[in-house]
Every structure is written in C-alpha cells, then in structure tokens.
Symmetry: C2
Subunit: 340 residues, 2 copies
Amino acid sequence: MIQGRTWVFENRPYIAASSAVGGPFEANGPLAEDFDFLHGDLWLGQDSFEKAEKMLLEQACKKAVDKAGMKADDIQFFLSGDLMNQVISSSFAARTLAVPYLGLFGACSTSMESLALGALIVSSGFGDKVLVGTASHNAAVEKQFRYPTEYGGQKPQTAQWTVTGAGAAVLTSKKTKDEIYVAAATVGRVVDMGISDPFNMGAAMAPAAVDTIESHFRDLGLSEDEYDLILTGDLGKIGHRIAGDLLVKHGLKLPEEKFGDCGLMIYDEQQPVQAGGSGCACSACVTYGHVLNRMKNGELRKVLIVATGALLSPISYQQKETIPCIAHAVAIEKGGDPKK
Amino acid sequence: MIQGRTWVFENRPYIAASSAVGGPFEANGPLAEDFDFLHGDLWLGQDSFEKAEKMLLEQACKKAVDKAGMKADDIQFFLSGDLMNQVISSSFAARTLAVPYLGLFGACSTSMESLALGALIVSSGFGDKVLVGTASHNAAVEKQFRYPTEYGGQKPQTAQWTVTGAGAAVLTSKKTKDEIYVAAATVGRVVDMGISDPFNMGAAMAPAAVDTIESHFRDLGLSEDEYDLILTGDLGKIGHRIAGDLLVKHGLKLPEEKFGDCGLMIYDEQQPVQAGGSGCACSACVTYGHVLNRMKNGELRKVLIVATGALLSPISYQQKETIPCIAHAVAIEKGGDPKK
C-alpha cells in the first residue's frame, strides 16, 4: 500500500538477521559491543583500502546470512551500494556472493534505500530471501573524495569522520522469533539548500532529513511520540541541531530524548572525529548492530531510521555545484507481546 | 510472482510513454528518426560535458512525462542511474524533477535495472506513476574512465563508442491505448570470466548476457522462438558473436535473425565507432525509441531486452582487477488484438 510517498508493508518483511562490522575507530567507540567483528587494522590484510572496504561488506553479508541460518545460495537478491566510484565494493562483493544483484546509489542514505527496496520486494512476494547491505571505509573515501589520509590534511570542525565498516540484513517473509519487521518506508526527494562546502555536509543534509521526516509523519498521520526512537543517519553535531530547529519551525516537535543521530552515537566525544561519524556504514552499523539489539531485548519497539545522503562528487564540487541531498526513512517495528 | 530469479508481473505495468534523446553521432546513425531530440553539439550549451549529460537526462525525462500527458508533479518515484562517479547526472536531474528518487547503479545495465524495479513498484501497487531513465555522454565518460577526448588517444578495434544520449519511460498501472507493458524481468548476477581489458568490454560482458538469457528461458519455460526480437544491450561486434556462440554451446539456439544488439543497431558500419555502441544510453535509446516505435505500429509484439553492464572502475582496473559483469533482462509485450 502506498500513502503519499510512503510504502506501508502490510505483508511484513521480517529481519531474519543482521550484522555490523567495524574498524579500529569504531572499536574505540561506545557501541563497540554491538558489532559482530571489529578490525584493529584498516587494511584488513588487503593491499588497498578499496579491497579492504569490499572485504568489510563481504564479511557483513556472510555474517548476516550465517546468523539467519541460511547459505549464500539461499539468497534470491542482493541489494547494495556504497560511496566508491561505480560502487565497486558492492559489485565485487556481489561477484563473491554470486547471487542476483541490484546495485544502488544513495550515498550514505544507501543503508535505508536498500532496506526499503528489499522490504518492498519481500512484502510484494517478488522475493522471499533478500540480502541488503552497504559499506564505507575511512581511508578509501578520503582518498577518493578529498586527499589520501597519508597527506595528513587538516579539516574544519564542521567536517565528519567516515565510518569504516559495513552492515547487512537478511529479509524474509517468514515470521521470526524476534518478530522484528520493516513496517514502512518513506522515499526521499532531492533537497538542495545551496550549500556547496563538502566539509559541512551535516548542514547540507539536514533539510533533506526534515523533508522526509515531515512526509513520513504526514503520510501516515502519526503523532509526534509515535516512535521510541528516531535516528537521522549522519548529520553530526551541526546538522542534527539544524534538523531539530527546522522540525520545530515546521511544527513537528519530536521528543528531544527520542531524537538522535547515528553519527553522534557511534563515536565518543573524546575521539577526534570533529562533528561526528558519516559514511554509508554509519547508519547501517548503528541500525543493524546497536538498534536491532535494543529491539531484540525489548528496550525499543518502534524505531524510525532516516538515513541521509549527500549526492555530490568531487567533479560536481569542482564545477562549483551545490550539494544535492536526500534522506530515506524506514520504520522498523517489533511484533509480539510488548510485555516480553 | 517470482519464478527462479525472474519476476512475472501479473498486474501489468504499462509503458505510458517513453523518450530518446541523442547527440551528433546518434543523429548520423540509422535510428535517427526514432529519437525525440537530436543535438548537433556535444556541449548542449553547457560549460562541461557532465552538465551536458545531466541535461540529456532531464530532457528525456521531461519529454517522457509530457508524452504521457502528465506533469513532473504527478510522478511518484524516479529511478535512475548513470556511469558518472556517484551517479551525479541522475542525482542532479532528480533535484530538477524534485520527486522522490531512488538512485541505481548497474553501469550500462541500468536501463533495464531501472525498468525492472519500476515495473515491480507499479505491479505490486506501491506506485502508480513511476519514471525510469538513464543517460551517458561520450566525452564525459571518456574523460572519467580513460582520457579526455581532446588528447586524441587511439583505441583498438575491440573498443566501443559510448552513446551520447538518454532514455526515459513512464510506467503506470492504467491500461494505455498501445497496451505495451512490462511482462517479466530477470535480475542478473555478477559473472566474471577473468577479462581485465577495458578496451574489450563486449567480450567481458557476453557471458553475463548468456547467463541471464538462459535463466530467463529456463525460469519461464520458454521455447527458443518465444520472442520476436531479443536484443543484448551493448556487446558490440565481438561480444555479440561470443554470446551467440556461448548460447549455442549451452543448447539455446535463438533464431539468428531475431537476436541482435543495441550497440550494433545504433550506428552505421561506416561510422568510426570500432566494435559498436555502448554506454547506459545505448540500450535505453534503442529500446525507448526504435523498439517501442516498432511495437506501437505492430511490427513487434514480444521483445526481450538484455542490458549488459561492466561493473569496473578506473581504480579497480588500476589495481589489476578483472571486470565483473552483469545483465538484466526485461520482457516487453504488446496486448490487444494481434491483427491490428
């Protein structure tokens, strides 16, 4: 069923299992215990950072499939994307998995773009075992979008730190023990408020997050305290504050204690990550690790993840373009007895 | 309904309208009359080739929406991708369109990846007016993947010529006058036979096309003469011949006169395009222009488009990786009285 631009999944796509893999910075963060694997070395034994990113994704996929009690062969479709040029991490992981593959690109919103489309495929009966995932790697992304990290370039306090990690989830139509399912998804549209500074992407992305959150609440006629938790993807300190202010201006007062940002949760205040975490893996790891763990143990029952993406490229920036941004929101809920 | 890895669309997603936009090379090709617009200048009045590519896509989208008798506001979802790093042509066109957007990446297979997913959304009732499209630009792609065209680098005869153009289609659940609809779609998996030469992508992609064609026929239990026309996307002279040979080896003898390649149709033998056309726009323009025109006038009733994509990046090539390839197949059919 569709309401506005929100898909409501009446046939529930269940999250059979999920996984989160991280790197050394993530291992020192407050959510370390929610990861399935943590790597002490950025190289993962590979001879390039790009290959290390691919390996993160492959590990996350393999772990999610294992935890779901399946084999790679059982997976009917793999939906994935990343920040690399021509999404090579996803394509090369798809080569390893050797299952039907749909490549996506939504920058850091890819985590929820893939979950939304995967849920749609399962809910509509066009697939029963669907794997979704995404990855990012700090050094690979810095090299591609800015400068190789070996240069030691300095950054302003508005800049964010790309998460090294990967997250994946297996969706199925079969009810699972935990009864955690994708209830709805709101597809974002591109919002561009004229910001062109790639060292301030949180501010650029905030209006896109607000646009999608507003649509989601309006489309479904929800009250402001509908969710136990609403997380933006990677707005960071500056962007998240802007989003909060904009939402109030637009008349939507989300309870402050229930409105967070994955980019602010994944690292400690003490870690040198400037305005917070970012990258495809940021919302993927926090959602597929920490959030789903809290849902499993009954702490959270209704969660809205609003993954934000800055759809720029180094070329668009060099050609003086502003930054088009997008946010896709996915509502994840837990069925069963709320007292358990 | 799903059979193997093929989606069968029982609720028909109709192609309400489609469009094809081309550049100067395409204007000199044999299919020139099937384009809605042809540009004599590669720049399209823009100050970069990347912006010209975006404009091609915007024109194709606008034209398809106009021909469908709709306005941009009517479109519920826009699905698009391209070859540019971070698919900027699609993201920036989505900014102009200002409608909910799902970015895709399947290299040159994006034409059919977007059509397949758009058809799934319409068929399953999660959207009623969906726009799908893709674009490529010869000079933008050469600059990004190889060298700027101004360098005048020479290429081997196995190389292909990226089409400058864009194609778009509007899908809807409402039966149209022409009754042309998407009947089924087979999602490709990544096939990599170890070829690493980016000047011979037809040969690299051929096994992926064969894998998808075989799956399509097997999944649906079709006979070899089921279709009036089967077109691969952009295998070119060498790849198409390899695909034909491989299919015979695998026991699938498609009638020769019914098995073609968009990359061999879009240009004349006399044009200096080496092994033939390629690029996201190749299969998109041939399908959304020429093929649909032939379906409208009743010449063709059942067509299978097998769009092929080489999922490499300059970095993966430089790191000595081979080329992972994929092919997505979409069956387009015409309802109504076959005698008309």
